[in-house]
Amino acid sequence: MSTINFAAREINCKIVYYGPGMSGKTTNLKQVFAKVPSHLRGEMVSLATEDERTLFFDFLPLDLGSVQGFKTRFHLYTVPGQVFYNASRKLILRGVDGIVFVADSAPNRLRANAESMRNLRENLAEHGIDVKEVPMILQINKRDLDGALTTEMIRAVIDPRHELQWHEAVADQGRGVFETLKTVSRLVLERLAKGQ
């Protein structure tokens, strides 16, 4: 549930970008950071290794503005995608209000996508959460790759029941980045409005 600070009249929502390593989670945040006017965003914090792989998380705060007298903010996080950083991924999921699952369209990453989604379900379950309780959007990234997997194939392994809204993206060119963020933000706010 979003954190509502009644004293400061603030609503804070935590959105986490999840997905396999190198699928483009950090790239999404970098695009948002680059394109949102500086007065509406804070500093981007990246805890990465020397070769720019996410070690713990990336973080970017965004100001939406005032909704019914409450200053509303989104805190965007990425998780480290590499398999062996699972302890970090679990920590970052604490307090999550919305999830963007960034899938990789590269032909050799179908299994990695499926394993990452399974890992997400397991980590949420460890926190006592059913994956269906959290607003989630699927972003199918790297659509410009030669031999990219079909979206049907990716959805078949990640979301076989076709329950998730999804967007195609080429995050390093900014395509699909804002559409995805907007959709997940809307779902989070809708849930908030229902008092959930």
Partner: protein, 161 residues
């Protein structure tokens, strides 16, 4: 909901503000923050003479993440938690201690400030804050009116195009 939201408002909030103000005065630290476990600032105070603080959102996020990682490490080593963290640099230091397992008191100060004094006063403040945290009441339910959705959508359009 994974982490509980703290309903810190009204009288409780005023009490916390007073305790932080007193702590700031007693210790001589620059900045004093109460952060929840999700990394959101619940309350903060800064000394009148202090320079503009760093981005508090980032500070709070890093403090909470660091505390979460430290707690995970403690569990792996068979400890319930490591309750306090101190990081000392050449110019300044940061002291973080858990409050009733739900929040983190964070003090940022110059290295000329004696750590012993900071710890002594911080522990007294934590005892007082713990009582406040334990007596927090249920958060009031916010009734958003019918325009909430359209207002939020309009703002999202402005922010994200």
């Amino acid at each position: 909901m994974i982490e509980p939201s703290l309903a810190l408002y009204g009288e409780s909030f005023d009490q916390v503000e007073t305790y932080l103000e007193d702590l700031l005065e007693a210790t001589g630290v620059r900045y004093c923050l109460l952060v929840d476990r999700k990394g959101f600032v619940l309350s903060h105070k800064e000394a009148l003479w202090a320079p503009r603080p760093p981005a508090l959102d980032s500070v709070a996020t890093l403090v909470a993440s660091n505390a979460a990682a430290t707690a995970a490490l403690a569990n792996m080593l068979g400890e319930r938690t490591f309750s306090e963290q101190i990081h000392q640099g050449e110019q300044g230091a940061i002291y973080v201690e858990s409050v009733a397992d739900v929040a983190l008191l964070t003090l940022i100060f110059e290295s000329s400030v004696p750590l012993g004094r900071v710890k002594l006063h911080a522990k007294k403040t934590i005892a007082a804050l713990t009582v406040v945290m334990q007596n927090l009441k249920e958060a009031p339910v916010i009734k958003f009116d019918a325009d909430f959705g359209s207002n939020a959508t309009a703002l999202l359009d402005d922010l994200l195009g």
